[in-house]
Amino acid sequence: MTAWPLAGLGAMLVLAPLLPGVAAKTRATLTGRRGAPVWQLYRDLRRLWRKGAVYSTTTTWIFRLAPVAGVATPMLAVLLVPLDGQAALLRFAGDFVAFAALLALGRFTLVLAALDTGSSFEGMGASRDAGFASLVEPALFLGFVVLALGTGQSSLSGMLGGETGSSLSWGAGAPSLAMVAVSLFFVLLAEASRVPVDDPATHLELTMIHEVAVLDHSGPDLALLLYGGALRMGLFAALPVVVLVSRAGLTAPLALGAVLVGTVAVAVAVGVIEASMARLRLSRVPQFLVAASVLASLGVILQLLA
């Protein structure tokens, strides 16, 4: 029974670096450029992994721990998501709290690593990262609340997996499902540091968020951070897809395939957004994130009225 969840885990671990490439390629195509191939990140990872590294004399062990935690935490979080639309490898009551807390741990170590360098640029990135993340958290939890209300379950496998609850099937649940999906998409844009929250292609440290927080990491450490970031993006891109796919009542292999295709489609959507709009002014970003929470809250209200 665990074959398909394992396949899902494997696919996520192997294919995640494709997603930033797909987004970048979409953006390049739409803005009239040829762009790097979609597997560019694999090349970057290989190149960085073979390189040496430079460590700042200011840094301590936490700087070296952050890349490891940056990969370990999303890896464990993948275990909790039912990528095959049925049940995840690890599931328990309230595991959505663990999902959020694991990713928070990754962020905590990353922010500490940024402050470890003593650079004002990285402090800036760390401050923005932590500040915006605090607004993402309510949106994420409210999204889970909608699913929990609809299904009466409190584990991700129950909320997203096979046994669809009464009011959260297609039809009656469609409005709140759509709101959750959009809200989770906003969360993805923030968590994966994409436009309009952050711009991965920007070149000025002063305007960066995530990129500047990892400014001093190099070589294998940077490779791990990039891979962890891709995993994070894969995780949050898969969430809204799983929300929608799991309601279709597909069998495990089909559902897994649909989730993977959908995840790539979400990456294309990210690229479309990047091509069509600019990054928001930093003081506007909180409004964008609050909007995600408001959308999810509307979903909650709809569920409560249902």
Binding site: T57, T58, G94, A133, P220
Partner: protein, 653 residues
């Protein structure tokens, strides 16, 4: 129960020994350590037995009745575990100041404070409860003003004293009203009278929120807390923040058990107060520039989280959903214990940095991870725990509170609105992460921002011991949650008066093994990953250089991000709620956090009252004949009154 009394006697003897042996410090150290250690360990034994399923016990007699039921047992552990760590740390830390301070008195006070705390949570009648409560409050006052030569310490002590006595007044009114003119004063008698209270005990519940809320530091009754906790010596701050404020939580829970069924409005009020305290507490913490004040505001935040659990539990009783009640109270109990562990740890860590550097100003610190590596590890464990990150204890109790709030939400009826708490708790969690990233990053990482920070050095093993003991507690509950969650749920079920099997029927207990697996898996992945990366780094050319400064050639430590700059953009989102006061001149920028309730409301209001009273001053002339005249005038008025109203109904025949 005899064992428990013996343990308390040992603690009291420890206090006495500190006073008696003050001229022989070497002997005093050993005797004090032995007696405090033995007292705390032995005193915990009956509590653990009760939590493990032994029947509740009681001892003493008549008015002075004491007992340990499930609720008392949980709080006995809260008192004696972190209490031992604080007392031990205090014993070591104070030893160095023996020449110029009354160290033995401070030691005696802390041992007696532990006795008073243990008696508060085991009292079974109004009289012993209030006596122990008042002794606890007054001893805490003397502990806080240890460094009384500083004006701000005396002010903090005074504000604390006024606040705690206002609270005690509310408690006396509470119990007087509850017991009535003729009723018995034991808790059993109160419980029997609960049904007869007018309006479902509304007055009792309001007074409980006022009296116990002042102790627990619920917003807006928290105003005394930041000053008092920041001004006290660090081990006292640890005891105050970790244990003493929890007596307010104990009081609220005890009132709920005696009342049996709180009305709906009270549950909603407690839940709302929890959300408000949680969010405002962490926002105010983010705005602080002083390490210990920041930690004190985090106590307000965590009391908010505890209240969210408590409110959910009360609503579970009201709306007859036993599982939510057990989960809510259980979450509140476990978070109380967890907060006692990690907040004591953080205050002890803050004390070590203060001792080493002589400053609590965040923006003067930095780079202490290199100079105090072990303190840093302990502090980091406490920080990750308070933020609620796996694999530590804060995650487990927040998970329980989430379960309670969500359990209410997925039920039917008005209780579904507990979902608001989920969003509140999520926001609190996110902000707490930002705040502790700031504390850890600014205090321990980067470069020293001043000469003070450059003087940092590791404290002695005697001071590190208590910190690592507390850190081990945090890790243990995170890695093996079953040992803590089951007893906490048993206590919660006891308060809610539902059988423990209610919790067993849910899938909450089934989640404990996966959580343990997740924690262990996380530790394993981090360990293996770190070892593997170390091996990879050995094979690659690795260089060391200065931090990348975008080409700037002469970087200085003053160019680093500071605590204020780290929090600035985040706080800007919340505007005036943060209480941050900014002064800008062409040459300088200065910001300092105001205490919105104390500085913004209470002190201005008090100034007005004082201004009004000032007008009465002319009647105080300070001359004898004036006062004689007053007395004669009053006598004449009384005589006139009796003469006029003499035939009225009230007059004696």
């Amino acid at each position: 129960m005899t064992l428990f009394f013996l343990a308390l006697a040992a603690l009291a003897a420890a206090g006495l020994s500190a006073a008696v042996l003050r001229r022989r410090p070497a002997v005093a150290d050993r005797v004090f350590a032995l007696l405090v250690g033995a007292g705390c360990v032995v005193g915990a034994v009956p509590a653990v037995r009760v939590l493990a399923g032994a029947p509740a016990m009681s001892g003493g007699g008549g008015t002075w009745l004491f007992g340990i039921d499930l609720l008392s047992a949980a709080f006995v552990l809260v008192v004696l575990g972190p209490g031992l760590a604080s007392a031990w740390y205090g014993m070591r830390a104070l030893g160095a100041e023996r020449d110029h301070r009354p160290v033995s008195a401070a030691r005696a006070l802390i041992a007696l404070e532990l006795v008073a705390l243990a008696l508060v949570v085991t009292a079974r009648g109004v009289v012993p409860f209030l006596v122990a409560w008042e002794v606890m409050a007054v001893l805490a006052y003397f502990l806080v003003i240890f460094e009384h030569e500083r004006a701000e310490v005396r002010r903090a002590g005074l504000v604390y004293l006024v606040a705690t006595h206002a609270g005690t007044l509310a408690l006396i009114a509470l119990f007087a009203f509850w017991a009535g003119p003729t009723g018995g004063l034991s808790f059993d008698a109160l419980a029997a009278r609960a049904a007869a209270l007018p309006a479902g005990g509304a007055l009792v519940l309001w007074l409980a929120l006022l009296g116990f809320g002042l102790k627990a530091g619920i917003v807006p009754l928290h105003f005394w807390l930041p000053d008092a906790h920041a001004s006290a010596p660090s081990h006292v701050s640890a005891l105050m923040s970790g244990v003493v404020i929890k007596m307010g939580i104990y009081g609220l829970l005890r009132v709920v058990t005696l009342l049996a069924a709180p009305p709906a409005w009270w549950g909603w009020l407690v839940l709302s107060l929890g959300i408000v305290s949680g969010v405002l507490g962490v926002l105010w913490a983010l705005a602080q520039h002083d390490l210990k004040r920041l930690l004190a505001y985090h106590s307000v935040e965590n009391v908010g989280i505890i209240l969210m659990g408590l409110g959910a539990g009360a609503l579970g009783i009201t709306y007859r959903i036993p599982l939510v009640a057990a989960l809510g109270f259980g979450g509140a109990i476990l978070h109380t214990l967890n907060h006692a562990l990690f907040k004591s740890l953080l205050f002890l860590g803050a004390g070590a940095t203060y001792h080493a550097t002589g400053t609590r100003a965040l923006d003067r610190l930095g780079g202490l991870a290199r100079r105090m590596p072990l303190t840093w590890v302990a502090f980091l464990v406490g920080s990750a725990a308070i933020v609620g990150l796996p694999p530590l204890n804060g995650f487990v109790s927040e998970w329980l509170v989430y379960q309670a709030l969500l359990g209410g939400g997925t039920s039917t009826g008005p209780i579904r609105l507990t979902l608001v708490g989920v969003a509140g708790l999520a926001l609190v969690g996110g902000l707490a992460l930002a705040c502790f990233a700031k504390v850890c990053g600014i205090v321990f990482l980067g470069k020293a921002r001043s000469g003070d920070a450059a003087r940092g050095h590791e404290p002695s093993p005697g001071l590190l011991g208590p910190m690592f003991g507390l850190a081990a507690g945090c890790a243990l509950i995170g890695i093996a949650p079953a040992f803590a969650v089951r007893p906490a749920l048993a206590v919660g079920a006891g308060i809610a008066r539902v059988p423990m099997s209610v919790a067993g029927q849910s899938d909450v207990l089934g989640a404990l093994t996966p959580i343990a697996l997740l924690s262990l898996g996380l530790l394993a992945l981090l360990g293996i990953g770190s070892v593997a990366m170390a091996a990879v780094r050995r094979r690659r050319p690795v260089a060391e250089a200065d931090t990348w400064g975008c080409g700037y050639a002469i970087p200085s430590a003053r160019m680093q991000y500071t605590a204020s700059s780290f929090a600035a953009s985040l706080l800007a989102t919340y505007g005036p709620l943060t209480g941050l006061h900014e002064e800008k001149t062409p040459a300088a920028f200065h910001s300092h956090p105001r205490e919105l309730v104390l500085d913004g409301v209470i002190l201005p209001a008090w100034e007005r009252v004082r201004g009004a009273l000032w007008r009465l001053r002319p009647i105080q002339q300070g001359r004898l004949w004036v006062y004689l005249l007053y007395i004669i005038a009053v006598l004449v008025l009384l005589l006139l009154y009796i003469g006029v109203a003499g035939g009225a109904a009230g007059a004696p025949p």
